[in-house]
């Protein structure tokens, strides 16, 4: 078996990214779409840290720390919005939320 190298991590993060993208494109429930977005963010983080290791610099790791922090803030605000959508429309199905009325 070949040694674990940069390519292994790139392939893994590409697969994770495409699965997250599929989730965002396909699912009807808003919370599951958010889960897909989290998968995409994790794939990007994995990529950043893999490059940081094989390049020797620290900027990849710092970038990915800030990505983790901002993902947390974004998830909190997004879920607050989803709760409001549920209170207004009584559903979180993204196909049904199609009017701009109160």
């Amino acid at each position: 078996m070949p040694e674990i190298g940069l390519n292994h991590y790139l392939v893994l993060s590409a697969i994770l990214f495409s699965l997250g993208l599929f989730g965002v494109l396909t699912r009807r429930n808003a919370v599951v779409v958010l889960m897909g977005v989290e998968l995409i963010l994790n794939a990007a983080n994995l990529n950043l840290i893999a490059f940081s290791k094989y390049n020797g610099t620290m900027s990849g790791v710092m970038f990915s720390m800030f990505v983790i922090i901002l993902a947390a803030a974004e998830a909190a605000v997004a879920l607050a919005i989803v709760l409001n959508v549920y209170a207004t429309f009584k559903t979180v199905d993204v196909g049904e939320i199609d009017t701009m009325r109160e």
Partner: protein, 180 residues
């Protein structure tokens, strides 16, 4: 079997095991019909990615991932699932739409990314970093990245206040109030 390097074999075997955990649980997140199973499979995906960070010598980021993603975002998502569905029904099923076009797009993008990364890009390889990352992160945060650090703390405060305000419950929740 006399030259069998157990250590290197274990290293690679566990790497492939974690990669398998990540891919299988991410597939369950995306393809499962029950929302709760999606949420709990996300736990395994996040753990697997954390393990990958340890392989990449970024131990502090791995532990941060567990604390923030598993202990924060995943619990938020679980509460989101529980609060936006009627919990009295047993299976929360949801169906998917546009499977075939999305599948085509997903495979096309996956193929394009892999082709570009593996065959076309000429990655500049430097000295591999093998030391722990705790002290360099502390050093960088206090010297080169002070401004993003401070701005992120203000941003977290704003996000906290905004989310708490948007999600306050006294104005329009017509449902029975959940405990707590």
């Amino acid at each position: 079997m006399e030259n069998f390097d157990f250590g290197a074999f274990a290293y690679q075997a566990i790497f492939y095991l974690f990669a398998l955990i990540i891919v299988v649980s991410a597939a369950m997140v995306v393809f499962s019909r029950s929302i709760i199973y999606s949420a709990f499979s996300l736990l395994f995906t996040l753990f697997g990615v954390g393990a990958m960070y340890v392989y990449l010598s970024a131990d502090f980021v791995a532990v941060t991932q567990i604390v923030v993603y598993v202990g924060g975002i995943l619990i938020l998502l679980l509460f989101g699932v529980m609060l936006t569905n009627k919990i009295t029904q047993e299976r929360l099923l949801t169906d998917v739409f546009n499977i075939v076009p999305s599948l085509v797009i997903m495979l096309a993008i996956l193929g394009a990314i892999l082709y570009t990364f593996l065959y076309r890009a000429k990655w500049h390889a430097g000295q591999e970093r093998t030391t722990t990352v705790v002290e360099p992160i502390g050093y960088e945060v206090m010297t080169n990245y002070v401004l993003p650090f401070e701005i992120v703390s203000i941003l977290l405060l704003v996000a906290l206040m905004g989310a708490a305000y948007i999600a306050r419950s006294e104005k329009k929740f017509g449902l029975e109030k959940r405990s707590n």
